[in-house]
């Protein structure tokens, strides 16, 4: 299959976004026409940019084909593997935060993510984590009364 430059996909996405936004605003337009003026204007401009980016993407695809090169691809698993894994760690952290609260989830995440980012000096990793959590607890929770001490959704469920 002929490889297409990533800009073509970006442009198609923008056109799809624009169409989705427009159809989502139909109900609101009937109730309050003034409320949809700026959103629809933005969607129209996004659609125009989408078309221009698609055209530019097709031009770049042809240029690359003419030179016998592969056009720039949007999703190359080899390139996306590392950031997606890192994003997976962050996703797990957010989920853990929701389940067991910030004060418990954060040290677990910090140690695991540091290890994933190729840090191997456990003494330094633990020291950084302990100091960080101490600052969070004494300064933000203790002094500034930021509400972090709850233990998440699971504890709320168990207590109820």
């Amino acid at each position: 299959m002929k490889k297409i430059h990533q800009d073509v996909w970006c442009g198609v996405f923008l056109l799809a976004l624009s169409a989705f936004g427009y159809f989502s605003s139909i109900d609101l337009a009937a109730k309050s026409p003034d409320s949809v003026v700026l959103p629809r204007l933005s969607l129209a401009v996004i659609a125009i940019f989408g078309i221009l980016i698609v055209v530019d993407g097709i031009r770049k695809t042809r240029l690359a084909a003419g030179k016998g090169e592969l056009p720039k691809q949007f999703f190359v698993w080899k390139e996306m593997k590392v950031p997606l894994k890192a994003f997976g760690f962050i996703t797990a952290y957010i989920a853990l935060f929701w389940c067991i609260g910030y004060m418990v989830a954060t040290p677990i995440f910090m140690l695991a993510f540091m290890y994933h980012l190729k840090m191997r000096n456990w003494k330094v990793m633990i020291l950084i984590t302990v100091i960080f959590m101490a600052i969070v607890y004494f300064f933000f929770v203790g002094f500034l009364h930021v509400r972090l001490a709850n233990l998440g959704a699971i504890s709320t469920y168990l207590l109820n």
């Binding site: 409320s35 401009v45 940019f49 980016i53 890192a86």
Partner: protein, 502 residues
Amino acid sequence: MSELMSAISTVLSPSVILALMIGTVGGMFIGAMPGFSAVMGVSLLLPITFSMSPAAGLVMLVALYTSAIYGGSLTAILCSTPGTPASAATAIDGYPLTQQGRGMEAVGVATLASVFGGLVGAVALLTIAPQLGRLALKFSAIEYALVALFGLTVIGALAGENMMKGLCSGVIGILIGTIGADSLTGFPRFTFGSIYLEDGLQTAAAMIGLFSVAQVLNIAVNIYQGQTKIILGDGTGAKLKGIALPKGKELRELWPHMIRSSIIGTIVGIMPAAGSGVSSWINYSMGKKFAKHPELFGKGSFEGIACSEAGNNSACGGALVPLITLGVPGSGVTAILLGGMTIHGLVPGAEMFTTYADTTYTIMLGYLIANILFGVIGLLIAKHVAKVALVPMGYLGPIIIAIGTLGVYAIHSNFAEVVMMWAFGLVGYVMKKAGFAPSPMILGIVLSRIAEDNLRRAIVLSRGNMLTYILGRPISIVFIALCVISLFSPIFMKWVNKKSRG
């Protein structure tokens, strides 16, 4: 004059000096934390001032306000994670300079520019506050809308290498800014039935996601490609000793930018709804138009940092003008400061310069001294904080995520905002991969509501006769001219250059 002398002796009293130092150092620390902001710092410290004298309490709060705006530049420069929305523009040029081993100088320039801008705002506050207050009264909905529109015209300057994608990013930001309940009619827009979106997407969550989380994903990629520290190469060329400022011509070129940005920032700060964030973006883009080396913008320009930082700190002084002279808060911070003043028994308005003159001038002098104090501290610690560039990124990445999450959650204790930050993190990374700059999107989100709400109010006030309404307001005409110049000057300059080369 006698009130000023009395204020000088009050500000030099031990309790006020202690409050000043706590506010300044605390502000720098809070401002440097991504997600935490001047608003949060002031609101968290406000209860502590109840047991203090009005002078000490309010001096601490204004010192925290201006120091937090400066503090945000430190993490913006060193880790590409702006501590406050007002420092997002600084990150664009600050981080590349850190990668080039010039982080210390970048922090030095940010410090110098912040001090300069803060002092200009402080002097304006001390000397011509009542006159500036009368100027603030002349602004109405149409002027606020035009300031926001002017801000939107500068999106092109932030577009990065691909103008079309940059502008598209800005328009997507404008669209995102419309999510939530319409402020004039109350109808929900693009909330899809979710109550968490009724208030719209929080700027802090979007900013932390687009800048901090996306940056951590880049850090992961860099680590797996063999780069272990922020600084590129082996770091031996990094300038981490000596004076924390560039030398000679590079330093001299900064002064016109700082002067211009400070004046514009003070005026922008006076306008309610505009503030440090809007001021920093407007001044950054104007700096690119006047810069000796515009090609360096986005790749590590001291001029860019100077414009952004002078603009955001001078706006703090400007924002205090309508607060003190008219009792009109122009931003979230000044709204909390208004609450603080009321709690301490002050009545903002004309009485601030008569009945409460001593306290008023003490606050203003405290604000001026705070700007000098954070400058001294900033220049002293610059070489030490710049060493963050030598810390292995594997330690920094998790810390950035943990602090950003803390900051976003602490704003409203709303987990939905943490999820927004998470989503914007992926969006920010994908955008960068696809060649879309994230800065225009942030600017679009910030300015979208200001522009739309005020434009619609202006239409109502004009009673259907917009042209006559605008022509009757000289300030509006000036802003329209600025918008037109801002939009068409790049095309005009290109044409002029082509002609002169031909």
